[in-house]
């Protein structure tokens, strides 16, 4: 109880609440601009969090993401362009409602279910993380090695697109992580004699490049013209919402629960949660033929799912230091920079920080209700801000942000190189998320492997000699061999394709 009060005091400091409010407005704006994602919002914020204490830094990211994921619904409903990938699953549905003249209802549903989903996710996070941490406290380098392997494997398998390309992306990320002085022998690897590369590829410029510069490049390289914003008068957001939410309450429960669980899986984020939950709602619906015609049933489930997954992704991130999605990958990088290595020890040493994260989630989602309402009311003005003006400004912020971490232009070089790389990768169907996880987890996997090898005196059997390590190891190897096994089975039974 004492810890919770301490945490509450940390979060409700005027400075923290102030930056959270700014972050919420920023998140709502970025989320509602098509082409600017919640991940990009996080990447643009990290240079600022660099100058903050851990609690406000994390609270800022939590708030910006929660609001951006909701705000992605706004252009989805009004322009049929999802503001963030997390809204793509039901963007046709909400646009169909707009065409029926129900834009406010679609957005109202999005807002209320986002808040419910976000709060559910926060409850799941605050209940499961401490319990898991108690269990995780017994883990040694063997278990962490397997956990990280398991996390990366999940990221490759779940990632959008081909598994092979996801694997390539992961390897690229792992390679980037090996650049610099290595942890065991102190030998500089792949530095081309550059002193700046000795410390490794700086994390923040890398993230800004991969998530923000790549988007700016994509905007400049696209020849698509801006769409006109529909100019109907803004109706009432909350009227008629009660009966709909009551009617589909099971869909809200399904969406929130499923979303939180999908969020916990490494590599699967809000977009996948929304797709799966929408598909499931359609499959279990009594009237699936109405889906896609402006029917609220799927909207309710998916709108809750994407916000629930945001909190879910933090469970593996703060308990094991293994990110659940690209955003928590960035968060882990931020925590490392602040000298707070995520893991079960944080729960013992500074539990108030962990509880502060939980409280930040509750506050951010509760604040989303009034702020999101205001955003819906102003949506038509927000959408009028032209991207041709926004993009050069974003570019400038990126460059200064990348510079500010080490105060050298080398950060901008890293940002530029990785930005172009991420753009080319995405254009060609290589998912970027596994690369991020590779960059974040690369050093952890290698250090744990090397430490384990030294402990076990060079014998690989050490990786299976402890019960939890053995279980995790077997799970990982099963996951690796599964595609092989499935292919073999297809060959054994010809004609079943």
């Amino acid at each position: 109880m004492d810890t919770i009060l301490k945490a509450l005091a940390l979060v409700t400091e005027p400075y923290t609440l102030g930056v959270m409010l700014l972050a919420a407005m920023f998140g709502l704006f970025v989320g509602s601009m098509p082409g600017l994602t919640a991940t990009m919002a996080t990447a643009l914020l990290i240079p600022f969090t660099f100058f903050m204490d851990p609690v406000p830094a994390i609270a800022v990211i939590v708030t910006a993401v929660a609001t951006a994921i909701f705000a992605g619904d706004i252009p989805g409903a009004l322009l049929r362009i999802p503001g963030t990938p997390a809204s793509a699953a039901y963007c046709d549905e909400s646009y169909a409602m707009t065409q029926k003249g129900l834009a406010e209802r679609a957005l109202g549903i999005g807002l209320v279910t986002s808040v419910i989903g976000g709060l559910t996710g926060a409850v799941v996070l605050s209940l499961s993380a401490p319990a898991l941490a108690e269990f995780a406290i017994q883990f040694s380098s063997f278990e962490y090695f397997w956990l990280a392997c398991l996390g990366l494997s999940c990221a490759v398998i779940i990632s959008t697109g081909s598994t092979l390309k996801g694997f390539v992306s992961l390897l690229i990320g792992l390679f980037i992580a090996t650049i610099g002085i290595d942890g065991t022998a102190g030998h500089p690897r792949f530095t081309f004699g550059s002193i700046e590369l000795m410390g490794g590829v700086s994390f923040i410029p890398a993230m800004i490049g991969m998530f923000a510069i790549s988007e700016v490049l994509r905007y400049v390289a696209s020849t698509r013209k801006a769409l006109p914003v529909p100019q109907q008068p803004v109706g009432s957001v909350f009227s008629g919402l009660g009966p709909i939410l009551r009617k589909y309450k099971m869909n809200i429960v399904q969406g929130s629960g499923l979303g939180a669980i999908i969020g916990i899986l490494p590599g699967a984020g809000a977009d996948i949660a929304a797709w799966i939950s929408y598909a499931l709602a359609k499959k279990r619906s009594k009237e699936p033929e109405k889906f896609g015609t402006g029917h609220p049933e799927g909207l309710v489930a998916a709108g809750a799912a994407n916000n629930a997954s945001v909190a879910g992704a933090w469970v593996p991130a703060i308990v094991f230091g293994i990110p659940g999605d690209s955003i928590t990958a960035i968060v882990i990088g931020v925590l490392y920079m602040k000298g707070m290595n995520p893991g079960p020890m944080v729960f013992v040493q500074s539990p108030e920080l962990i509880y502060a994260v939980f409280i930040a989630f509750f506050i951010a989602n509760l604040a989303l209700l009034p702020l999101g309402f205001a955003a819906i009311k102003m949506s038509r003005q927000i959408l009028k801000v032209p991207q041709r003006i926004l993009m050069p400004i974003i570019l400038m912020f990126c460059m200064v942000g990348a510079f500010a971490i080490n105060n050298t232009v080398f950060g901008i070089t890293v940002m530029l190189v990785l930005g172009i790389m991420a753009y080319v990768m995405e254009e060609n169907g290589f998912p970027v998320a596994p690369a991020i996880l590779g960059i974040v987890l690369g050093a952890m996997i290698e250090d744990n492997f090397m430490n384990s090898m030294i402990k076990a005196d060079g014998s690989l059997s050490g990786f299976f000699s402890r019960p939890i390590a053995a279980t995790l190891g077997v799970l990982t190897i099963l996951l690796w061999t599964m595609p092989l096994f499935l292919t073999l089975r297809r060959w054994m039974r010809p004609g079943t394709e």
């Binding site: 390539v168 390679f175 065991t184 690897r189 490049l217 500010a404 232009v409 901008i412």
Partner: protein, 157 residues
């Protein structure tokens, strides 16, 4: 810009060979069979393997998927110029911001890109001035990032 999988295959294989060749220069850990070269070799081997699969797959689709497909932006000269200018302005910043100073460099880049992307000249200049001063105040004054003054050093405020 879309490339055939075979192109990526070849790039990955070449990269993997160079990477593994480099690891042979790494020292080994005293008394251990594994050293700092172990992970890079595993990564290189994985990349080479994926490269071979992509190469085979790409060659099989050769008939339907062209080796290089530039995409619609390459046909449009103005768009190509914009992409070149965008990347060029980052390189420009990296090269000259130190002696030209943040304010002048940022103002020049912002004005150029705003005009190129279709904003009127006067509006662009006004926006560029406001944004440059805003970023400068935010980072140099509030966050105390030492943004370079460059040739404006004598009038630094």
């Amino acid at each position: 810009m879309r490339l055939n999988d075979a192109v990526f295959g070849v790039i990955l294989i070449l990269f993997a060979i160079a990477e593994i060749a480099w690891t042979t220069t790494f020292p080994s850990l005293y008394g251990q069979e594994y050293g700092p070269n172990l992970f890079p070799i595993i990564i290189g081997a994985g990349l080479a393997l994926c490269g071979v699969i992509l190469l085979v797959r790409g060659l099989a689709q050769r008939g339907t998927v062209p080796m290089v497909e530039w995409g619609d932006w390459a046909g449009d000269k103005a768009t190509v110029l914009n992409v070149v200018l965008l990347i060029g302005s980052m390189i420009f910043y990296i090269l000259v911001s130190e002696w030209l100073g943040f304010i002048i460099t940022a103002f020049a880049i912002l004005t150029l890109l705003l005009v190129r992307l279709g904003t009127g000249l006067l509006t662009s200049v006004v926006i560029a001035i406001i944004v440059t001063l805003l970023i400068h105040t935010l980072f140099a004054r509030v966050l105390l990032v030492p943004l370079p003054w460059g040739i404006l050093q004598p009038v630094a405020w």
